[in-house]
């Protein structure tokens, strides 16, 4: 078991790479996989996220967030807020909060879970992420690196 798992969630579509960019930024500041830390990019895991939560005491998730806020905005999600953001289940729409809600019912949540959302704009396949999202990923990476130092 790893003591900390850090997952950046995304897809190769413009700003939806926010989670992946955060992992790149973490690696750039020296946070790497070692005996106690697993750091990984995930491509739209859906319900596949749940088994990954079994392997850690502390999980940090970073995902793109589409809402009314500006691209590059950062938000932390507390468990009590999940229902407000969960749109529900479907084959294609099984998002991170759906997976976490199901994991909670299955008692698969780690004892500590930090969930970061990065506000995004365009998500065209094959596009680069915008500058605001790159900058936000750097900021989230700094926040995570700081939290790891305790």
């Amino acid at each position: 078991m790893n003591s900390v798992c850090i997952f950046g969630i995304g897809s190769p579509s413009g700003d939806d790479q926010a989670g992946w960019l955060t992992i790149d930024a973490l690696r750039a500041v020296g946070v790497q996989c070692d005996a106690g830390i697993l750091i990984e990019k995930l491509d739209r895991p859906g319900a596949g996220l749940i088994p990954l939560l079994d392997n850690a005491a502390w999980v940090i998730l970073v995902d793109a967030m589409q809402g009314s806020g500006p691209a590059g905005g950062i938000q932390r999600f507390d468990q009590k807020d999940w229902p407000r953001y969960t749109k529900g289940l479907s084959t294609h729409g099984f998002g991170v909060l759906d997976a976490l809600s199901l994991a909670r019912e299955l008692r698969s949540l780690p004892s500590r879970l930090d969930l970061y959302g990065i506000g995004i704009g365009s998500v065209l396949p094959g596009d680069e992420a915008g500058l605001e999202v790159h900058a936000a990923a750097q900021r989230v990476a700094a926040m995570i690196a700081s939290s790891l130092k305790g």
Binding site: S11, G48, G88, L89, T91, E105, L106
Partner: protein, 433 residues
Amino acid sequence: MTEQKRSVAIHVPVLARVEGEGALDLRIDDGAITQLRLRIFEPPRFFEKFLEGRHYTEIPDMVARICGICPVAYQVTAAQALEKLFGVELSPWAHDMRRVFYCGEWIQSHSLHIHLLAAPDFFGCSSAIELAKIAPQEVRRGLRIQALGNELMDLFGARSVHPVGVRIGGFHGAPSLDRVREIREKLRAALPEAEALIRWVAGIAVPQDEQAFVSVAMQHPTGYAIETGGIAASDGLLIGAEAFDTHFAEHHEPHSTALFSHYHGQPYLVGPLARLNLNHARLPERVKTLLAETGVVLPSRNLFHSLVARAVEILLALHEALRLLDAYHVPDSPWVPVTPRAGVATGCTEAPRGLLWHRYEMDAEGRVLNARIVPPTSQNQARIEEDLRLSLQNFGLDQPDDALRLHCEKVIRNYDPCISCATHFLRMNVDRG
């Protein structure tokens, strides 16, 4: 005393939680259905037009984008159609591994549908999250099986969502023996779980809803058809993919942007139950034995047996993947060279949701002149409407609105439809006449 027949208008303006967009209109006047329309109003995606002018080397990765759940079906169907036109003879290794790759997709897609979409209906739950409160071990097992399917897709496709492993002539790469050994052990360990899944699903009480319909699925002389075989129907038809248009016709209905399909002028069923109805004799013996224990008599006329059919196909896919991977070796080359030629390519495979048919007209440089893709959901669309009509009558049109709505949801979800490759729950408003 004269019984007062009620009138009800049920409009489901949006089939909620869908990638695609659809709706259901149901009107009951004086105790009879006067309108029943599964409306698909999502704008057309023009995928076939996007393919025009594209080189054959780009096609597998492009068509994989049509569906996030069944990309392998689109890739393999396109590849095999073009390989047939180009006169490419795949190596036995590539043949076998295409089937293994496809098994991964069946495992993940079926497990997802059973546990996250369909099963909650039969336990009075609105979602898998609610189902997990009362059947946590079963949901956990379902997620493990689904993850294993994804892993199998990742093994050959480099990723499970929109994989990129297939090329015309075979695969871009071959997994190492170490990775295959590792996944073989997982497949073996999953067999008892899949057997338990069949027993669990068979124990779920489903409506007794017998209907007459034609089943259409691929058939292969020696095995359970997945990626190879001819197109068969329960009335005895057996044709090659090139003859599809002779027997099946698509047409446009004003209330849907997805084309309807008819077989000799009538709706027909594609998907797991149609496959099982036509091909149950070709299941491995162990799977046959378990199927017999369920008490489901085949061919089945009850669409709600689709749940059992999916569970049976998961076990079949595990057995098939293991059988083929037990003989795995790393080939000298995972692909053979290809020389394009002009002409018309047709091909079909069994996507998790049913028969998937492709047709490409190619030029001598190997570029697409035009393309046609007939997915399973559009083929099932007419059947879903027919099923809703018959099933509601069996259920009782005098049932309360909420019960009617839930029954409609069950019927539609049972087909695991992809509207633009999606499935959905119904959000509806009831307007009593």
